[in-house]
Point group: C2
Chain length 229, copies 2
């Protein structure tokens, strides 16, 4: 939620914030499977602190709906239902599509350069004989958020980060299981269309390309993924 301006991070944020970032990254990276249960004390032990920072981190993630607390008061990674996945996808297309439109209007040269760089990195990784999935996913994420940041609306970026936090587990988990189909997904094509539309200042084109990209990856997840009914 607060990854903006992470540059100047001098050193000591509060332990709770560090725990939040750590858990958040593991969640987005798909290191925690949906349905997996978490324990405050185990978590704290892993962080080398008391339960307090872990408690705060979990609280915030629960507020973001990136974790859920069962009636038993047990904490776990939410299991994504097919219907809520589709709902999230529709919201993503709307919100991220708007961001793409705005980005096309405001795009600065630096933004375009960054976007093209991430695009190249993703294409290179995905077309390699031995694709590094993790690096590809990171390049994909960097590309998307470079676009969103270019819209110049920080609160919109925060909203989108919240959405990615929720789909992160299921998305990255499934990507990991299927190595080769990443290249067949055709994400490179959508990315190319997106970059071209942005460079041309074509807001509708950018939105369409991004929507197609999101829809394609959602389809991919729906077919290979094990989403709860």
């Amino acid at each position: 939620m607060e990854s903006i301006a992470r540059i100047g991070r001098v050193a000591h944020a509060t332990l709770g914030a560090q725990a939040y970032e750590a858990l958040r990254d593991r969640l987005i990276a798909g290191a925690l499977a949906p349905g997996e249960r978490l324990s405050l004390r185990t978590l704290a032990e892993g962080l080398g602190t008391s339960v307090m920072p872990a408690r705060e981190a979990v609280s915030r993630l629960v507020a973001d709906e990136a974790l859920e607390v069962l009636p038993n008061r047990a904490v776990r990674v939410p299991v994504m239902t097919l219907s809520t996945f589709r709902e999230l996808t529709r919201v993503r297309i709307a919100v991220e599509g708007f961001a793409a439109t705005e980005a096309a209007r405001r795009l600065a040269p630096d933004d375009l350069a960054a976007i093209r760089s991430h695009d190249a990195a993703f294409r290179h990784e995905v077309l390699a004989p031995e694709p590094d999935l993790e690096r590809a996913m990171r390049a994909n994420r960097d590309l998307h958020f470079a676009v969103y940041r270019a819209a110049g609306l920080p609160s919109l970026v925060a909203i989108i980060e919240g959405l990615w936090l929720r789909i992160g587990p299921v998305l990255n988990l499934d990507m990991r299981s299927s190595r080769r189909r990443v290249a067949e997904g055709g994400a490179q094509v959508h990315h190319a269309h997106l970059a071209a539309a942005l460079a041309a200042g074509d807001g509708d084109g950018a939105r369409a390309a991004l929507a197609a990209d999101i829809a394609a990856s959602a389809d991919f997840i729906e077919t290979t993924g094990r989403l709860a009914p």
Copy 2:
């Protein structure tokens, strides 16, 4: 963030959750002025608990950007800058506008009845010789969220609640200071257009009416409000 299904609230949520709800309501209602500082211990004393629940509530509100923690580690209600206010307004028009479009597609008879009921309540309150501002604002909020809920996208409603949480303080604070201009704002007209478009299934019309409503109230705040430069 979790005001949906508040009906079944049997009794005992955790103290932290209760504290969060309480603080959140005070924030949305404008009971806390922007820039006002908060103290965990004072807050806890007001709640009749220890600092722990207050701490959790504040943590979550900070995560929602409804509160902010200064470099001094002091906690206060954020002072809204004019530029961030305009940014939030643009995001609101995009996100809430999308919700209105969806609502026009999916609208159920019950939804329309609820919307018309809140619309009538707002118009009645605002055209009265002695308008009750608080009741008018509540009717306005109920009307808006009845529309958003009709879109059938709970995660979108949660996002919008986060946005309202941030503009709540400045919005309700300014409304309180200017009693009579509420009627002149013409919100009733926008609401009427909105309800008509929704009833006709006109998505674009609903979006336009809602955008006009948001823009008008934003203009009102900008002129009478004391937003930081």
